[in-house]
Amino acid sequence: MLELRDISLTVDRTDYLSDISARFEPGNFNVLLGPTLAGKTSLLRIMAGLDAPTTGHVLFGGKDLTGVAVKKRSVAFVYQQFINYPTFSVFDNIASPLKVAKVSKADIKTRVGKIAELLAISPMLDRKPLELSGGQQQRVALARALVREADLVLLDEPLANLDYKLREELREELPRLFRETGSTVVYATTEPEEALLLGGHITLMHEGRVMQTGPTLEVYRNPVSLQSARTFSDPPLNIMLARRSGSDMHIAGLSQSYSDTLNLPDGNYDIGFRAHHLHVAKPSKGALSVKAVVTMTEITGSESFIHVEALGQRWTALTHGVHHHKAGAAIELFLDPRDFLLFPAAGTAPLTNQAKVA
């Protein structure tokens, strides 16, 4: 098990990571999700030992590894760029960590053969990495990470530079490949969709801090803060402001209010809801109706993204099928309060003022 204790990283007076404490279990697929510049790569590099944290400790299996040289650790790292040794053949690339560890020749041959078979690169073992396609090159890098059976395997957006089809293929294979090794696997990604597909356990990061950790689906369903919900939403989370008194919620700019049975204190709230919860047709009896103005429609075929302005906010609605609306058209959208994610508004101005603006 990998444990981070109070990790922070400051370079040239810029804070890249602050107060990070987290645990990553072996046999679990640990996803590190956050937008670019959230500090995922910095954190992975500290886990690997490539960089030292400014403060804090990295523990593995209870042993403090902070300051231990990378080459003395049992770790594998796969980069977003396809990093292989260009002058080595594919076989020698995969075999390199074993050769350094002085594994016997016969042993190397069987282990490399097995991994190459698993990743479907057996026919290319004699070629040079640069003669392969991008997807195959990344498979070679993954094979090198796998063959070593390292205690800790770190994957830094390994699929980001691959085309769509290959990503789908490898995304399915990856959790299966690593599950059997018993390694502690940490996979960094910027894409909420990818995180959900990979499943396992998630750590949400934003601006150098850990926002939330837990089983991926659970975190997706119950984000603990507005920032968590934002980090874990694609298309971006839609937001509106509301004021609560008793069991009634008054949404800023909306005459209609609704009530729920949640036991929450009075005050200002941010209400977040995901794009697929903004409906073009009334989904249920208790749904709220909102007038919106279309700014743009993106149609992918099976889905349409309708970008609108409503209640003074920019929202996105994700709908099935083709729904074309001209820019500037006024439409009616529906919201089911059961889909709402409520977060107490911190330091917002009194709601009455905002209601006037809206």
């Binding site: 690997a48 490539l50 040289a69 990378v70 080459k71 770790v75 594998a76 790292f77 980069y79 760029q81 990093i83 040794y85 260009p86 002058t87 080595f88 390199s96 960590p97 350094v100 560890a101 090198r144 070593r148």
Partner: protein
């Protein structure tokens, strides 16, 4: 139209090749023919001039001396420049950019400036007229150039390769020798070529720091005026033989030479 356009480069190439052609024909002529009048090609081609050079120690020792100090200089320059270039390419340290630029500005000084201090210094410590003296003096110009060229090539190798090697468990030495050096092999070739070329053609320092034992071929060539006058044919043959090593070396690095002129930054 196309034909007419072809004429211009053809003329240009003839213009460039003319001195070399003339040198070659002179080398194959007898002195009598050279002084006798105008002839486009040797009437009685002879290899006697080349034979003189290859059999007379005072001539061929010049080539041996030049080769020794050029080789010494190239080896020293590259082995000093490799770690320096790696540091400039991979690490940030105080004053790194200034130091890096200062290195190159060193090269802008004319060699003549350094003739006097080198002569006095090497004379006083007993290095005068040795191969190592010339080799070390040329390092002043070649090490900065080699550092710049190698740094350019090294920076073209992603830093992640170094890290992957560390992660795989390679020691730094093993990584540098087995993984990194092959990746910048063409850069090493180009840097070595530039060191070779400078050292091979540099005359002033080489001549000043030597007298007999380490006298370079270029210096030998300037001292051929004898009682019987100038030996034109032998001098031309020596010139031809001086061009040959450069031509051979350039052949090996021909595909990377442009990158070398851009100091590895393409």
């Amino acid at each position: 139209m196309l034909k007419r356009i072809r004429i211009i480069p053809t003329l240009y190439i003839i213009f460039l090749m003319l001195p070399i052609y003339w040198l070659l024909t002179m080398a194959l002529k007898t002195n009598a023919e050279i002084l006798g009048g105008f002839s486009l090609w040797p009437q009685n081609p002879t290899l006697a001039n080349f034979k003189t050079i290859l059999t007379d120690p005072s001539w061929y020792n010049g080539y041996i001396n030049s080769t020794i100090y050029v080789a010494l200089n190239t080896v020293i320059s590259i082995s000093v420049a490799l770690p320096a270039a790696y540091a400039f390419s991979r690490y940030r340290f105080m004053g790194d950019k200034h130091l890096f630029f200062w290195l190159l500005s060193n090269r802008m000084a004319p060699p003549a400036v350094f003739v006097l201090p080198f002569f006095q210094l090497y004379s006083s410590i007993g290095l005068f007229d040795t191969h190592i003296a010339v080799a070390l003096a040329h390092c002043l110009f070649n090490v900065p150039l080699a550092v710049w060229i190698l740094e350019g090539f090294m920076s073209g190798v992603p830093k992640e390769i170094d890290e992957t090697a560390q992660i795989d468990g390679y020691s730094f030495g093993a990584f540098f020798a087995r993984i990194f050096t092959p990746l910048i092999a063409s850069g090493i070739g180009v840097a070595a070529f530039f060191c070779f070329m400078f050292s091979w053609v540099e005359l002033l320092i080489a001549r000043t720091l030597t007298s007999v034992d380490a006298k370079p071929i270029a210096a030998v060539m300037t001292r051929t005026v004898s009682a019987s006058g100038l030996d034109w044919g032998v001098l031309a043959a020596a010139g031809v033989l001086t061009i040959v090593p450069g031509a051979i070396v350039i052949w090996f690095v021909r595909n990377h030479i442009a990158k070398g002129f851009a100091l590895g930054r393409v």
